[in-house]
Symmetry: C2
Subunit: 202 residues, 2 copies
């Protein structure tokens, strides 16, 4: 049995969503057509609007509708002299939710991956070098992912920063808060030991 | 930090999809805007087209672009005299994939649920009664879900069929093929015993 072409096409199109396989896509398509037509129409509209309007911030490359995003437009943040380097806009959101960082961001929109043809320019490192030369940045905080590519990217950026004489730090890796030692992987536990901090009692 | 309104709206709209919570919706939105803009535009178009074009089959109520669906238009199936009652279009698809049934379908688009105000007319039982009176149907196969509501609906339809003098059967419930007895629930195992078949050796 063939489904009608419009349904087949909808199921195919839904599969671009991350984590959606053939079965989930079919379930989503039927749910929309059976019970969520209004919501489906709103989704179509939201998709069109977002794709049309959302571009990249001229300063930090994150996703935004304005030419300069809210965070980059914040003078207090610019004056802090802190610049945090992350891989994706979702990382910015995660860091903002901690409330621990009051500086600016630079979003790579990926990481160095020479095998996939992603070099320094593809992740905006030319633009980053310009910013480091022109802005009064006192410290760069490398918050790329703790993966092989993320580490390599962090190392590459640390090298650029050193040439400009800017202090650079890497976010701490260790045992997650609330985690149990027993279930932490070896690499993380190794990092937790090498990055240990002396307990200061007064 | 507030995300730009178009992104927030996209994340909200994605949550109508079944099984998509706030985190997945955010991941989907970023993935579309970072890497899948073309796919996102296609999805918006597919949604609009499907919502506009797909309606219900006049004969069996399933989702289709035509006024009468492919299966109902098939004369060989109509001549079989078999009518299978299911709850959703996805059930039709699942049964068609077995290749075991060559008759027609009637899709309830739900089940009886008096507490939610879903009575016989809401699931098209008036239309079903008309079909039973006017068409040459020899057997009704009840394939509603083995839930309380599904069983109640099956029972209700069996009653209508009896008034018209049409033979009615219920699909078999029992141990799933490839399953292990140890992990089968009590109700299913009970069904498997009460529905046992004699082994015929020649």
């Amino acid at each position: 049995m063939r489904l009608s072409p419009a349904i087949t096409e909808l199921i195919r199109a839904l599969r671009i969503l991350p984590g959606v396989g053939p079965k989930s896509a079919q379930r989503m398509a039927f749910q929309i057509l059976e019970r969520q037509r209004e919501g489906g129409a709103e989704l179509a509209h939201a998709l069109t609007t977002a794709i049309e309007k959302v571009g990249h911030c001229e300063v930090c490359r994150t996703l935004t509708e304005q030419s300069v995003c809210e965070l980059c437009a914040d003078e207090q943040r610019r004056d802090s002299g802190l610049l945090c380097i992350v891989e994706t806009p979702a990382d910015v959101l995660a860091i903002e939710q901690t409330g621990q960082f009051q500086g600016c961001y630079f979003v790579l929109m990926g990481h160095l991956s020479p095998l996939d043809g992603i070099g320094p320019d593809a992740i905006g490192l030319d633009k980053l070098a310009e910013r480091l030369a022109s802005e009064a940045i006192t410290e760069i905080i490398l918050a790329t992912n703790p993966t092989i590519e993320g580490e390599a990217t962090a190392h590459y950026i640390a090298e650029i920063a050193r040439q400009q004489g800017i202090a650079t730090s890497r976010i701490a890796h260790g045992v997650p808060v609330g985690g149990e030692l027993e279930y932490v992987d070896q690499a993380t536990l190794g990092h937790a030991f090498s990055g240990r901090k002396r307990v200061e009692l007064d």
